[in-house]
């Protein structure tokens, strides 16, 4: 492991990669601050730029964007009560009241230190958990993988769209259907190509992610008449106040950070749960832990109330890399985009990544530490100025997002058809978004489609066409029971539970 850490440090600490982390953190913070544009859009916009890079450099850039976007989301939560991403909603409960009391600088500092500590502690957990889990996951068979993928999709549907489980499941099926277009990987038989040679190789992952996130989010903003940059215009530099914390505030954070890091990391590892649930759970748990006197301050500007969700959501981000790096199965929409990018680089994440591409495995983990430090150094003093950059009018921001999206596809294929297909998917996604159909399950299903079919193929061929492989092995059986429980619980909760 020590050798791996040194390899990772060597790669991550190269000048080029440090610059990439800095750019990633900076760009992620800017995009994350804009309500409606989250880490997935930020990463999607970065994918075409990473084409010319080495895989480790590209991944380091995307990891930086991810952390930056999460941190950026916290900033808008605190300053204007407009969370950039769902994972920072809980941050606004106490962050915004603090800002209203003239302690915005303090609130930003608490968020920055908590994010740093949460992310760093979780990255240490990841350092030890990932190699061990990689070894364990070598014992997994095709039926287990197939089950795990269904579990991931079901869990993301259950958690990413609370109360809209069936809508999310429709999006899962749609994502899998889109993934099935093109030649069958084993027999090369064309499927759903309709004599159009442009579809023979299937639909590109970048095309789908750009269309369903970057482009449809930009179109949704125009369609709904909202202005995400309005938030940044409200930020006044003079009202931020000091960023220094006193002894008592530091003491409160010191007790909150370890427990919130643990809960954040564990929730992050679970498929589908992610930073939103982690932050809410940590907030709720913290309220039970603190003394009655502090409990009264929750929702009115409590240091513990702000530190807990901020620590947990960053810890969850690190945690979400565990299933991606060890099993090759992303547990969230954002890590699904990362998986797509990895596959684009010709790297198949999974238990063998640790052995076959140690420099990538370790450099991503090491870059997380570096990313945390850079976020702290770069963002805390620069937040007011970043906020000013954000005050770019909507009339400039939206066309630029559309331009980056089209350029991304143009660079890939130099083909008009792909641009038309992307516009078509983006228009459909915009309408679906309007009626609260969630997009993360679609993208996760699209990424997992090929792997799911391959594992189902192997399982059915080994069991000679019998579906008994779903309950033959105890591990697969446990996974299937969990899936059934989630499905029935969600349907019961949505349709049959009395209010």
């Amino acid at each position: 492991m020590i050798e791996g850490i040194l390899i990772g440090l060597n790669t991550a600490l190269s000048i080029k990669n440090i610059i990439m982390v800095m750019i990633g953190c900076f760009a992620g913070t800017i995009i994350g601050m804009l309500p409606g544009l989250g880490p997935m859009t930020a990463i999607a916009l970065m994918i075409p730029i990473t084409y010319g890079f080495e895989p480790s450099t590209g991944l380091i850039l995307m990891a930086g964007v991810y952390y930056g976007a999460v941190f950026g989301g916290s900033t808008s939560s605190i300053l204007i009560n407009a969370p950039g991403i769902p994972g920072t909603v809980a941050t606004s409960f106490d962050g915004y009241p603090m800002a209203q009391q003239g302690k915005a600088g303090k609130a930003l500092a608490i968020a920055a230190y908590s994010s740093f500590a949460g992310g760093t502690i979780a990255a240490i957990f990841l350092l030890f958990a990932a190699p061990s889990l990689s070894k364990v996951s070598l014992a997994f068979r095709s039926p287990d993988y197939f089950g795990l993928m269904i579990l991931g999709l079901t869990a993301v549907s259950a958690f990413s769209a609370k109360g809209h489980f069936l809508k999310a499941m429709m999006m899962v099926v749609l994502g899998l259907m889109l993934a099935s277009v093109g030649q069958d990987t084993l027999s090369d038989i064309p499927r759903f190509v309709f004599n159009n040679m442009n579809l023979a190789d299937g639909i590109s992952f970048v095309l789908v992610v750009m269309a369903t996130f970057a482009m449809s989010e930009a179109l949704s903003i125009i369609f709904k008449g909202s202005d995400p940059t309005q938030a940044a215009k409200q930020i006044s530099l003079s009202k931020l106040g000091s960023i220094r914390l006193d002894k008592e505030e530091t003491k409160k954070m010191v007790t909150t950070i370890p427990r919130s890091s643990i809960i954040g990391f564990i929730v992050g590892v679970l498929p589908g749960a992610g930073s939103t649930i982690a932050s809410f759970l940590a907030y709720g748990m913290e309220r039970n832990f603190v003394k009655d006197e502090e409990k009264q301050k929750f929702g009115k500007g409590s240091v513990n109330g702000l530190s807990a969700p901020e620590t947990a959501n960053n810890a969850a981000c690190s945690g979400s890399f565990v299933p991606l790096l060890t099993l090759g199965i992303p547990g969230s929409g954002t890590t699904a985009v990362m998986l797509g990018a990895l596959l684009g680089f010709g790297i198949q994440p999974g238990p063998r990544l640790y052995q076959t591409n140690p420099e990538i495995f370790w450099s991503v983990i090491m870059s997380m530490y570096i990313g945390m430090v850079i976020l702290l150094i770069l963002n805390l003093p620069l937040i007011p100025y970043i906020a000013r950059i954000l005050a770019v009018p909507r009339a400039f921001l939206i066309p630029l997002i559309l331009f980056f999206s089209v350029t991304g596809i143009y660079l890939m294929s130099f083909n008009n058809f792909d641009i038309y297909l992307m516009i078509g998917i983006a228009v459909v996604a915009t309408i679906l978004r309007l009626y609260e159909f969630p997009m993360p399950p679609l993208i996760l299903a699209f990424v997992l489609g090929g792997l799911m079919e391959e594992n189902l193929r192997r399982s059915l061929l080994i069991s000679d066409g019998s579906w008994a492989f779903l309950w033959d092995r105890p591990l697969t059986l446990c996974i299937m029971i969990t899936i059934l429980f989630i499905v029935f619980w969600q349907i019961y909760n949505s349709y049959f539970k009395k209010k």
């Binding site: 099935s180 559309l402 228009v427 009626y435």
Partner: protein
């Protein structure tokens, strides 16, 4: 009786799944694969049924939390205008070249969205695209196909 838009979308998805399922059954597999436990159409067939099942379930079950969308406040004009501009951008990008079509797309998009500061409209289009192209093509060595600039001898 008013039908909820989400139910209509579900119904469309139901029909789409039926269409998908029909075409899944039409996939031609090799003769020796016809009776194999798994062939090229097995997974798509399962997906077709899954689509019918979930959309059918949504249509059949009562809607507990209907999406509340006020259609009268939506900005149809600008959204459609942007989509049309993107299609035109897609049509012209190969023929007119990346630089010219992108710059014109940006100018027209800014104007469509109500921007009237001409200095910024110009700066964030032609010079911006030129710098962007230099970064990609010149520094990062990412190939950018532009027949027009190639014809003019600006790029190789």
């Amino acid at each position: 009786m008013q039908i909820s838009p989400v139910k209509i979308i579900s119904l469309l998805f139901f029909v789409f799944s039926g269409f998908y399922l029909y075409h899944a059954y039409q996939i031609r597999v090799f003769a020796f694969d016809e009776n194999a436990p798994f062939n090229a159409k097995t997974f798509p067939i399962l997906l077709g049924y899954a689509g019918i099942f979930f959309s059918g379930l949504y249509i059949a079950l009562p809607e507990k939390r209907p999406a509340n969308v006020n259609l009268s406040v939506l900005d149809y004009k600008r959204t459609i205008a942007l989509v049309v501009l993107m299609i035109i951008y897609g049509v012209t990008i190969l023929k007119a070249g990346y630089f010219l079509s992108t710059s014109i797309f940006l100018v027209l998009s800014y104007i469509t969205l109500g921007e009237k500061r001409w200095f910024w409209v110009f700066t964030l289009s032609f010079p911006f695209v030129a710098i962007f192209m230099f970064l990609l093509h010149g520094l990062l060595d990412i190939y950018l196909r532009d027949p027009l600039l190639k014809y003019l001898g600006i790029i190789g």
